[in-house]
Symmetry: C2
């Protein structure tokens, strides 16, 4: 649960910062994007940004937090199921649905996570996200699975990510790509 919601503020600078930051982070990466660049796009100073978010990392955390909650729900469901094919299929289908239901900037966020793993890795919020992926991966691998099967499971999640953000690389409308990605992911991890 975030501090936003029914929160009534006099300006929407806080949300504008999030939107601009996500766009720039996805385009040019986290480290390469400066607070001055974000501030200039909004016509304010660096310090104004610093008022709403105490650090640059906190901006990114607030973006990642949205996705965290969705992943938590899937991990919790999965860990209450018995291991096996049905659980693997359920995880893949639920994760596909989560990606499909994200906000308009969802694809940008997923692309950012996929392409900036090293930047994210050392951040607190990044560690949270990574632990969810780790648990999703564990739940997608039955005990004693081969190296090939473990690889297939991890690729299944990556396939879903590609379907969510690879607008230019793959043909078809967004939901066609999503269906294709789900098909490939199930074939990798749902057998």
């Amino acid at each position: 649960m975030t501090t936003a919601g029914t929160d009534e503020r006099r300006t929407d600078t806080r949300n504008l910062i999030r939107a601009v930051a996500l766009e720039l982070f996805a385009e040019q990466g986290y480290e390469k994007t400066s607070l001055r660049e974000i501030a200039e796009r909004l016509g304010v100073t660096k310090a104004a940004v610093y008022y709403h978010y105490r650090t640059k990392e906190e901006i990114l955390s607030s973006l990642l937090d949205e996705h965290l909650a969705g992943m938590d729900a899937i991990v919790e469901w999965a860990e209450a199921q018995p291991a096996g094919r049905e659980r693997r299929q359920g995880v893949i289908e639920r994760y596909s649905t989560l990606l499909a239901g994200m906000s308009d900037d969802g694809p940008q966020l997923i692309r950012f996570m996929q392409e900036n793993q090293t930047s994210i890795k050392e951040l607190a919020a990044g560690a949270e996200i990574r632990s969810r992926f780790e648990r999703l991966s564990v739940v997608l691998v039955d005990p004693g699975a081969s190296a090939a099967d473990q690889l297939r499971s991890r690729l299944a999640l990556i396939a879903l990510h590609f379907g969510a953000f690879a607008l230019d690389m793959l043909p078809g409308a967004p939901d066609e790509r999503r269906d294709a990605a789900l098909e490939v992911a199930l074939e990798l991890g749902g057998r």
Copy 2:
């Protein structure tokens, strides 16, 4: 072929810089790694590093160049073959062999490329690498292939990368992982 080789220099600082830089780039990312950090590990100053490489980007370029030549050979071979299953299999097998035959730091370089795509994207050497991947992907997709098949082809290359660098994530000895990755890649792109 690089400018090194028979090049006899009074110190091996140049090669030491490459080794330390790759290690730090792979661990903490390109942007987060400072020239001062590299210099301090070697007991010299920042400016001494600047004597050997005119920019930070040039250090990274010199690392990526090794892999570029290997990819060029595969792309050239592929573009001289008729499209079809055999060509796809040949590309996957050759790329697997290329990854297996890289130097000791090969895994670090592949991991770096896989996890720092955004950092690399805007660099000159990064654009070169990306164009090779683009051509490899084209050659792995027969005309009129579905979105699912295009996705499978891209995942095949990613599978090989995982097998090359995912030391902690997957079980088994290095060549077992490589064989498992090749198996999955062929099943994705070689049907």
